[in-house]
């Protein structure tokens, strides 16, 4: 029943009805305005409060995100610095371990070089002492005596022989010295090589030290919680998130292929007609095997300290960790072997089913392909895929750690949008209230107009009367002024 129809018992005249309605609305105008205003204000305030609280939550979330980002950044920086220190430690240990041997070698080489050097010092061959005496005698001028002449000839001969012998001896000793010097060349080269090695190690250490300096600078920036560090970490997180997500998608593709490889033969083992919930038991069993392989891969990489998702494993002592590495690797290998066998079985079952289908369809059975390549290919895939899936742990860790930041940023964005929408809704409601009151006034404009006319008329009359009295007073004043001026003129003329 319409509102106007409910008023029909009062009067059936529509004009009167409208008049009555207008009158009722006119009298209810102020309470209606107040009600609408109060209602819109209440909603507006409530929404603004809600928006403020959402914004507060967003602020807290942003702070928390920043904290998480910084904590992760710190952890990563620590990890990098730690790794560099480990490498330096390994290099120093390696080099220092070899240092005593190097020192000994160098000392030996130096001694040998010294000996050879001393041995190769050129000493001119000394002439016998009597050579000078004979030389002096040989220089005596003879007078032609044959005996003297013979003697001098003999002396000259001896001298020549002696000279020849000295030259021979000199050549021999020079040859020996050259041999010694030749022997020194590889020793020098050895020394050069060792020194190069030492130099390389020192340069390597210097480079690593520079790397550590760089990481330490980053670490300091993160510790200082600068905006630059936050921006860098956030962008790095986003990149990590998308890259690891992509790799995970690829891994999921691999897992699906793996699943299809083992689901059918699993029905031969656990039965093809039983279900767990809405899923076939064989499918669930296949999935469980793949998940176990993934877990083993996870534990293996965790034990190798490549990933750090389980601090308990990372904190184990090295002996225990090595045990865990061997256990997980063995289990993974066994599972890979099982999968390989299942892949072989799958090939057989598929062939049997195909044969049955052909029989049922009444088609003459085609000869089976004798090539074993597909079977071997499936078996190899069955063996390799578990190991390939084991490495999923690395992108998974990156994905999880970066997802915290990315989800945090998304949640903050969502809260920001919600806060904006709440404020917008509050304002819309407030101004809608105003609009409603205006429309209400528009509907009842006849009584409002009348009210205006009635309330404004006395005011206008009063205004008109005021105007009249003012003009009368003005006229009176003008007349008095004029009379005064006239009298003044008369008086002046009399004077």
């Amino acid at each position: 029943m319409k509102f106007t129809e409910s008023l029909l018992p009062i009067t059936s005249n529509p004009f009167l009805l409208i008049l009555l309605l207008l009158a009722a609305m006119y009298f209810a105008r102020k309470p209606f305005h107040r009600a609408v205003h109060a209602f819109s204000l209440v909603l507006n305030n409530a929404l603004r409060l809600f928006a403020a609280s959402v914004r507060q939550a967003e602020k807290r979330l942003v702070e928390r995100n920043r904290e998480v980002l910084m904590a992760e950044g710190l952890e990563n920086a620590e990890r990098l610095v730690e790794r560099e220190f480990d490498r330096i430690n390994a290099a120093v240990v390696r080099d220092l371990k070899g240092y005593p041997a190097l020192h000994r070698q160098m000392a030996e080489v130096a001694t040998k070089l010294e000996e050879d050097h001393s041995a190769s010092v050129e000493v001119p061959p000394s002439l016998p002492n009597w050579v000078t005496i004979i030389e002096a005698i040989a220089n005596i001028k003879h007078t032609g005596d044959s005996m003297v002449s013979n003697m001098l000839g003999e002396i000259d001969k001896n001298l020549r022989a002696q000279h020849q012998s000295a030259i021979e001896s000199y050549r021999l000793s020079s040859g020996k010295r050259h041999a010694l010097l030749n022997r020194m060349i590889p020793l020098w080269r050895k020394v050069q090589k060792k020194l190069d090695e030492v130099g390389h190690s020192v340069t390597d250490l210097t480079e690593r030290a520079k790397g550590i300096d760089h990481y330490m600078d980053e670490y300091q920036e993160i510790r200082a919680k600068t905006d630059k560090a936050a921006r860098k970490l956030s962008s790095s997180s986003m990149t990590q998130f998308f890259i690891s997500g992509l790799v995970l998608l690829i891994a999921i593709g691999g897992a699906i292929i793996n699943f299809n490889l083992i689901a059918l033969p699993m029905s031969e083992m656990v039965g093809g007609g039983s279900f767990i919930g809405p899923y076939k038991t064989s499918d669930v069993a296949g999935l469980v095997i793949i998940l176990i392989e993934l877990s083993m891969g996870l534990f293996l990489l965790e034990s190798l300290r490549i990933t750090r998702m389980f601090p308990v494993i990372g904190a184990m002592d090295d002996k225990m960790r090595m045990r865990m590495i061997w256990i997980t690797l063995t289990l993974l290998t066994v599972l890979a072997g099982v999968e390989s066998a299942l892949a072989f079985m799958r090939d057989r079952i598929a062939a049997d089913m195909e044969a049955l289908r052909q029989t049922l369809a009444g088609v003459e059975q085609t000869l089976r392909a004798t090539s074993k390549i597909p079977t071997i290919g499936q078996m190899i895939m069955g063996f390799i895929l578990p190991f390939a899936l084991a490495f999923v742990a690395i992108p998974l860790e990156s994905f999880i750690s970066s997802a915290r930041t990315v989800l945090g940023v998304l949640a903050a964005g969502l809260l920001n949008t919600v806060a904006f929408l709440l404020r917008l809704a509050g304002n819309i409601i407030y101004y809608t209230g105003k609009f409603i009151t205006s429309v209400y006034d528009l509907i009842i404009f006849p009584p409002l107009w009348l009210e205006g006319v009635i309330t404004e008329r006395p005011f206008k009359i009063r205004e008109a009367l005021d105007k009249v009295s003012k003009s009368r007073q003005q006229k009176k004043a003008d007349r008095v002024t004029r009379q005064y001026e006239d009298q003044t003129q008369i008086l002046e003329s009399r004077k």
Binding site: L264, S267, E268, G271, G272, G273, S274, F275, I276, G277, T281, I349, D352, M353, L356, R357, T359, L360, A361, G362
Partner: protein, 215 residues
């Protein structure tokens, strides 16, 4: 230790509680009309059975029975099997089943009467006994029931949870002259099945056998 043991027990209970092999299996009871000239259509029935053998999964049930003078009897069951859980064994069962049907089709004798109702009653009894999750009764017949004297079949069917599918409902000579007879016959069976809370379908195009399992 106790806690670990209780968790393991709980997981075990959950798994064994969830494992339901019966409710998801399919049970099919196919009635093959061997009366009069319809016996000539048995080759088509054979291809339908082959289709079913190719479609059914391990742990499903298939039974094929002939419709003759008194079909409410286990003797009319030509072959029945509940497939093994292992696909390789199930494949062998399917081969054996196919062979039995082939032999039946080769040596079938035409029956003078057509007791469809008795066959349906036998199918209901069998499938209820097997306890399949989805129950199908396939009637490969022209749906013209002819009972021998003294056979009473005015028993209402209890077909709740059953899908009754009429296959290859051929038109008889009098149907071609007066289609109302054909429509009336099909409608009469539809009413009978639906009154027993069963679902009724007719598939005449044997190229679309997948509609058997599409409710």
């Amino acid at each position: 230790m106790k806690r670990i043991f209780s968790v393991i027990c709980l997981i075990g209970l959950m798994i064994t509680g969830c494992a339901d092999s019966q409710s998801r299996t399919t049970g099919i009871y196919m009635l093959v009309d061997t009366s009069g000239t319809y016996a000539l259509e048995l080759k088509k029935a054979q291809s339908i059975i082959n289709y079913l053998l190719g479609t059914l999964q391990p742990h499903d049930t298939l039974a094929v029975a002939s419709i003759d003078t008194g079909s409410f009897s286990e003797k009319d069951i030509i072959a029945k099997v509940t497939f093994d859980q292992r696909p390789s064994v199930a494949n062998n069962q399917k081969r054996a089943f196919q062979q039995t049907i082939d032999e039946f089709v080769t040596n079938v004798n035409s029956s003078p009467y057509t007791d469809i109702s008795g066959g349906i009653l036998q199918a209901i009894e069998y499938l209820n006994e097997v306890g399949s999750g989805q129950k199908y009764i396939l009637i490969f017949s022209d749906l013209k029931e002819e009972l021998a004297k003294g056979y009473v079949r005015d028993i209402p069917f209890q077909l709740s949870g059953f899908n009754v599918v009429a296959l290859n409902v051929t038109k008889l000579r009098q149907d071609i002259r007066d289609p109302k007879k054909y429509l009336g016959r099909v409608d009469q069976w539809r009413l009978k099945v639906e009154n027993g809370n069963g679902a009724w379908r007719v598939i005449n195009d044997l190229e679309r056998l997948e509609y058997i399992f599409k409710g």
